[in-house]
């Protein structure tokens, strides 16, 4: 039987060790953030945010087209993925024990593990090669496929977590299951679903690999999604491997913008969830 003193020491060691590990994990994130802020802040100015890229070798210019391109590409992806993802989540929540439901859930989980570059290739084969034309739309399609498993999972969880009593109250009034879920349960689950959507957007906002052969990038203003388009994450890549110092600095600046956007989305998702928890009966 160990003495009391040695047990106390073992306890202290254990606690200290777990604290150090947690600190390390947080430190990694903070170091990355700090580094990007330090290196990227130098590039951020009004010109950077509002101008088109300058021709290679000429100082200045900006990533305005990349910012707009990211918004358009992700926006279209949200429009494609949300209805499909949320309705699938609804189906899984309603028929959770069916054989078909289990299959769908499994396939969705498998899909979330497929590398993004593979999905990019799939989008290329489907939407770029047949038309011999790069487009933001094909990138949006790839993004939508990436977002789908996340949306399905979080929507299903959100709908499942609504107390069953509310559904039964609606059913007891003579409503069909589908209508009860759509009109009564879904509105209650909505804040959680939106949170899931924000997290899915954050996931996809920084994806670069699929863009290499779908959106392809562009030095011009482009608002037409059927054309190749500049996207912020792609610009990070292109400028990072460029031999020109000024472009390397801009790569850090674009990376900083992305990080800020992802951070903002995550914070927004948290705020939304907290408001919902406070408003719950």
């Amino acid at each position: 039987m160990k003495s009391y003193r040695s047990r106390r020491i073992a306890d202290a060691v254990g606690v200290t060790w777990s604290f150090l590990c947690a600190f390390l994990a947080a430190a990694v994130l903070l170091i990355i953030l700090g580094y990007i802020v330090v290196k990227g802040a130098a590039a951020i100015n009004w010109q950077f945010l509002t101008q088109l890229p300058h021709p290679v070798g000429i100082e200045g210019g900006g990533v305005a087209n990349g910012i707009v391109g990211s918004i358009i590409t992700v926006g279209i992806a949200v429009l494609i993925a949300s209805p499909i993802g949320i309705m699938t989540g609804l189906y899984l929540a309603l028929f959770s024990r069916g054989g078909f439901a289990s299959t769908v859930r499994f396939l969705s989980d498998v899909l979330s593990g497929i590398p993004s570059i593979t999905i990019g290739l799939f989008a290329y084969a489907l939407l770029v090669a047949p038309f011999k034309h790069f487009s933001a739309l094909s990138a949006s399609f790839a993004f939508a496929v990436l977002m789908l498993p996340l949306l399905v999972r979080t929507s299903e969880e959100a709908i499942r977590s609504v107390p069953r009593a509310i559904l039964e109250g609606a059913l007891a009034l003579g409503m069909t299951t589908f209508r009860s879920t759509l009109r009564i349960v879904l509105p209650v689950a909505w804040p959680s679903i939106v949170t899931g959507l924000l997290l899915a957007i954050a996931r996809v906002a920084g994806e670069t690999a699929p863009l290499l052969f779908t959106a392809f990038g562009s030095p011009f203003w482009e608002l037409n999604p059927t054309n190749p388009m500049a996207v912020l994450s792609l610009q990070v890549f292109t400028y990072a491997i460029s031999p020109y110092r000024s472009q390397n600095v801009q790569s850090w600046g674009a990376a900083l913008l992305l990080v800020v956007a992802v951070l903002a989305l995550n914070l927004l998702a948290r705020v939304l969830l907290r408001t919902r928890i406070r408003a719950a009966p």
Partner: protein, 258 residues
């Protein structure tokens, strides 16, 4: 086994009803005659099958995976489990109030108006009249008439339960099922609900599950005693509580177990 009943109309006749969850029988071969415009109380210790029984009367088990119902429940001459019966329309005729109040997270008005809206009433004026009538019948109108637009979730537990009753009344059912409607409420709210039920039986047929024998003795016309899935005995409340036919009933009522 039924004690001699009065000769009122049978609104619902339950014949040999059995409910299985998977292989386990929660209700075994229960038969009961439910009289019109009367309050029928279902009593028995926890887990005896009374909630399962009452939920079989509006086909709520259709939504439970793995649940199987055998036997007949005849309402106005039609077996509600017949293949051509639409359970959605059935629940229009047989309403249900649950143990815990479950108002929708909407305004008081929208809660009560929801049922009629889906069943086709769209006219603003008739909806308002219907909502008022239902809230009056549920003894809630005076307390909420000035704040119909406020969220139903702001009401107290007792008020929420009366709102749920108003919600059921708004679809104008013939039968109201109540699964321990006052068990989550304080004594004052409980007595309000009991008074309400006494009023309701003039126009509706009420079946109520209750944990409290005293409550059953206070407000029901007929009582059915359940034990471990069997409907042991049923009959007029007065007879059940003064001279029960079955020893198990007598033991439960005198408090020897339960």
């Amino acid at each position: 086994m039924q004690a001699a009943g009065e000769e009122t109309t049978a609104k619902v006749q339950v014949d040999d009803l059995s409910v299985y969850y998977g292989k386990v029988a929660a209700v075994k071969h229960a038969s009961l005659k439910v009289h019109e415009n009367c309050v029928t109380a279902l009593i028995g210790p926890s887990g005896c099958g009374k909630t399962t029984f009452i939920r079989a009367l509006n086909r709520m088990h259709d939504l439970t995976p793995g649940a199987r119902v055998e036997g007949r429940v005849v309402l106005d001459g039609i077996d509600i489990y017949a293949p051509n019966v639409n359970p959605v329309l059935l629940r229009h005729k047989i309403g249900m109030v649950f143990q815990r109040p479950n108002p929708f997270p909407k305004s008081i008005f929208d809660n009560v108006a929801y049922g009629p809206r889906i069943h086709g009433t769209r006219n603003g004026a008739s909806l308002e009249a219907l909502v008022e009538r239902s809230l009056r019948r549920a003894a809630l109108w005076n307390e909420v008439k000035d704040r119909l637009d406020r969220s139903a979730l702001d009401l107290s537990g007792g008020q929420q339960q009366r709102l749920c009753i108003a919600r059921v009344l708004a679809v104008e059912p013939e039968i109201i099922l109540m699964d321990e409607p006052a068990s989550a409420l304080d004594p004052i709210a409980t007595s309000k609900i009991e008074d309400l039920i006494n009023d309701l039986k003039r126009e509706y047929t009420v079946i109520i599950v209750t944990h409290s024998m005293q409550q059953a003795a206070r407000m029901s016309d007929y009582t059915a005693f359940f034990l471990l899935g069997d409907l042991v005995e049923s009959g007029p409340t007065r007879d059940m509580f003064t001279r029960p036919s079955d020893k198990r009933t007598e033991d439960y009522i005198t408090g020897r177990f339960g």
